[in-house]
């Protein structure tokens, strides 16, 4: 990246401040820059240059100090929370937050796993890339069953923005024509393996309301001109994405939105800039800018603009708002409703089922597929809810052929055992649930009255847990998973839940949403349907905090669609002189 793009002190007023550089911040920057706005992206962490700063990439396992495992002392002292994330290892640890420097609290009797990625690109470098549209039922769930507030938007409000985003991102998938999972604009899907095809056929026959499809993922299986102009090329099926990808084959800020924004010459980036709070002008009822504390030397500075887009992640954006207090907003900026910080949700990945699959000895594969199969939520309307709980869940699913990692613990000593480990073993298959979490007022985050982090920002206190509804859902998901694998002819089928373990508490799904929810009524919601604060017209929060309900699909694609729609709305309102 051109060095001139990075700034530190700057007293000039920008057109736009974007706080955060992840999935939403990157997209906001691209959209504003392409519309000609003088844009400043503010990132609390260090710069990560595409291709240059991916030290784990292309390094064989034996070249790692500890074969990709993390030094125990380092993990215990600096990554006590982050180490619970599936993607945390020696090739990715530099993209995860340092828990020693990023303390937070949890209320007694609750737990929360807050996974952090504080660097340019944020969690877009680390995400799992699964990309699904929310379905029409998702936007009606709160209205239909009375939990949470009604979404102020419907699926149709987002369709054209989903399409726009998908063409730019590049989503591989199959057009399945399902009502409960609308199709995206697709690049070719990854291949579904023969055992998976057979499980699909058996399950769909035994359970006609359920559909097993190829996972949809933000990988370039066949890049378009749009992608190649940004230096992105075809996915090589390494499935080592979280180390960083020099092929630019998966969507990240670095691979896609940042180069698109930078080529307009309208982008500046302030890295190592921790936003303490927003600067609010009571007379005009506008935000004027942000107060920043330097990540490294703790000095202070300010940036100014006509509009602020908070894209600092659900918890991050909400923390900034809660910490922006004034006479008019003593409980946090744009919080006249009092719901800011409440209705914290995450997904619930705490049920699974797996079994052995006989046969298929002559089936194998080449490459490492960076996605699995997927079964969308089949309980998206009250009349389809299961007995004993509300809402539903989706499943990730895949068939796999076991290898030495699975066979190492089996009986065997000597030459035959050694030879066996060099060959693929038996096939197996598994379903992994991904459940919705109900919006509850009591599940919330607040600022600690006295404890602060090293930047002097009050620490967050999480007070959230999976409730009886979520646990009943996981119990059922484990049971249904078992039934489907048995219907598909699997043997040794076992189901299990894991919500009882502290390290499987909310946060660990890394789909936290809902703490500045959108709604029609300013008395009960923070944002309107354009992610614009009801209280302050030049403040937008298009990240996950805007969600009224969690739905069941991976949320990033919807973050992007909401962001682009919010930018488009602001640009038009400003042109019309209404903001």
């Amino acid at each position: 990246m051109n060095k001139d793009i990075y700034i530190k002190e700057d007293n000039n007023k920008f057109d736009v401040l974007i706080v955060g550089s992840g999935i939403t911040g990157g997209f906001a920057a691209k959209e504003f820059c392409e519309r000609g706005f003088n844009t400043l992206m503010i990132e609390r962490g260090r710069v990560v240059e595409h291709r240059v700063d991916y030290p784990g990439e292309g390094k064989p396992v034996w070249d790692y100090d500890n074969r990709m495992k993390v030094d125990n002392l380092l993990a215990e002292q600096q990554h006590k929370i982050q180490k619970d994330c599936y993607a945390f290892h020696d090739g990715t640890k530099h993209f995860f937050g340092n828990d020693r420097d990023l303390p937070y609290q949890t209320a007694e009797g609750t737990d929360f796993r807050w996974i952090r990625a504080n660097q340019l690109g944020g969690k877009s470098l680390l995400w799992h890339r699964q990309s699904y549209r929310m379905c029409p039922d998702d936007f009606l769930a709160n209205k239909r069953d009375g939990h949470g507030n009604d979404w102020p938007i419907r699926y149709n409000d987002l369709t054209k923005w989903y399409s726009y985003v998908e063409k730019f991102v590049g989503i591989s998938g199959n057009a399945d024509g399902l009502a409960n999972l609308p199709d995206s604009e697709f690049l070719p899907p990854f291949e579904m393996l023969k055992p998976e095809q057979d499980i699909k056929a058996a399950v769909e026959k035994a359970f006609p309301d359920r559909h097993l499809i190829m996972g949809r993922t933000a990988h370039l299986t066949k890049p378009t001109t749009l992608h190649m102009q940004l230096g992105r090329v075809q996915c090589q099926a390494r499935n080592e994405c979280q180390k960083g990808c020099s092929f630019g084959a998966y969507f990240s800020t670095q691979s896609a939105t940042l180069p698109a924004a930078a080529r307009t010459n309208n982008l500046s980036i302030a890295a190592n800039s921790v936003v303490h709070s927003l600067i609010y002008d009571e007379k005009t009822n506008r935000v004027k800018g942000v107060r920043v504390i330097d990540n490294e030397d703790l000095s202070t500075r300010e940036y100014f603009a006509d509009v602020v887009f908070l894209c600092a992640s659900t918890v991050g954006s909400t923390q900034i708002l809660l910490n922006s207090k004034s006479k008019k907003f003593p409980n946090g900026l744009a919080n006249s409703s009092g719901v800011l910080g409440h209705y914290l949700m995450d997904h619930n990945y705490n049920a699974r089922a797996s079994g052995d699959l006989e046969g298929y000895e002559d089936e194998f594969f080449k490459g490492r597929r960076p996605t699995g199969c997927y079964m969308p939520n089949f309980q998206s309307r009250p009349e389809t809810y299961a007995k004993g709980y509300k809402r539903g869940y989706a499943y990730g699913m895949s068939a796999y052929r076991s290898d030495w990692r699975g066979m190492a613990g089996q009986d065997g000593i000597g030459a035959d055992f050694k030879d066996k480990l060099t060959k693929p073993g038996k096939w197996g298959a598994g379903f992994y649930a991904q459940g919705e979490m109900l919006p509850e007022f009591d599940n919330h985050m607040s600022l600690h009255p006295t404890k602060k982090d090293k930047w002097g920002i009050p620490q967050i206190v999480f007070n959230a847990k999976y409730g009886a509804n979520e646990n009943a859902m996981m119990d059922d998901a484990a049971e249904q998973g078992v039934k489907m694998l048995e219907a598909a002819g699997c043997t040794n089928v076992q189901g299990s839940t894991s919500y009882q373990y502290p390290n499987r508490a909310p946060g660990i799904a890394i789909h936290e949403v809902g703490t500045a929810r959108m709604g029609r009524d300013a008395k009960t919601s923070v944002l309107n349907g354009y992610c614009q604060a009801h209280d302050i017209p030049n403040l937008f929060v298009p990240d996950g905090s805007s969600f009224s309900s969690s739905g069941t699909v991976n949320p990033s694609l919807t973050f992007m669609a909401l962001t682009v729609r919010a930018v488009d709305y602001y640009a038009k309102e400003r042109k019309a002189g209404r903001i």
């Binding site: 700063d53 034996w62 030094d71 090589q236 390494r238 594969f365 060099t422």
Partner: protein, 194 residues
């Protein structure tokens, strides 16, 4: 050749392959900013069984080496001893495990005394098979041994030989597809997660 040089060579090889797709100019920029910390890095040794380790005493290292080589003996391919799996286990326990978490591994090695190392290969194999079958050993001891065995196997198949010669190493597959499997074909040697 030091471990550091091996690391850079492998990374360079990766970057050369990448060059075919992205162009040499881009790849040249990739070589900037990479650095490798070797202070605590494991690198295979040839004499791990003749000196005390970081976790194990000299006697325990001899036993561990003998156990490892019984589980994965030298055949027409190197065995666990040849690949210093015992040295690796010692390093890994010292570096990546809490003291508490090393206990099962220490207990497993302590199931044997030095006389184990003097047994004939067949007798050593039978002794470990009996252990796995629970003949004369309780369930905790079986579990401890299984943990140790798994770490030895991990050490073998994440070594350069294990991952790239004993198995098929495919750094940049180029795509994903199903292929037929013929009896005798080796499995893949690299994974997204270990």
């Amino acid at each position: 050749m030091t471990q550091n040089t091996i690391s850079n060579d492998n990374r360079r090889a990766f970057l050369q392959r990448l060059g075919g797709v992205l162009g040499a100019a881009t790849v040249a920029s990739l070589t900037a900013g990479t650095h490798l910390n070797v202070a605590f890095a494991y690198s295979p040794q040839t004499d791990s069984a003749s000196k005390a380790g970081k976790v194990f005493s000299l006697t325990q290292m001899k036993i561990l080496a003998s156990v490892a080589d019984t589980i994965l003996p030298r055949t027409n391919t190197p065995g666990a001893f040849d690949l210093d799996c015992h040295g690796f286990v010692d390093h890994q326990l010292a570096t990546c495990f809490s003291k508490e978490a090393t206990k099962p591994y220490l207990s497993a090695v302590n199931l044997f005394d030095e006389s184990f190392t003097t047994l004939a290969p067949d007798a050593r194999q039978k002794a470990l098979m009996d252990l796995e079958a629970g003949k004369g050993f309780d369930e905790n001891q079986q579990n401890d041994f299984r943990a140790l065995k798994s770490l030895i196997v991990f050490g073998y198949f994440t070594s350069e030989y294990g991952a790239s010669k004993a198995l098929r190493y495919d750094a940049v597959p180029g795509g994903f597809k199903s292929i037929p499997y013929k009896p005798g074909d080796k499995g893949w040697g690299n994974f997204a997660y270990y």
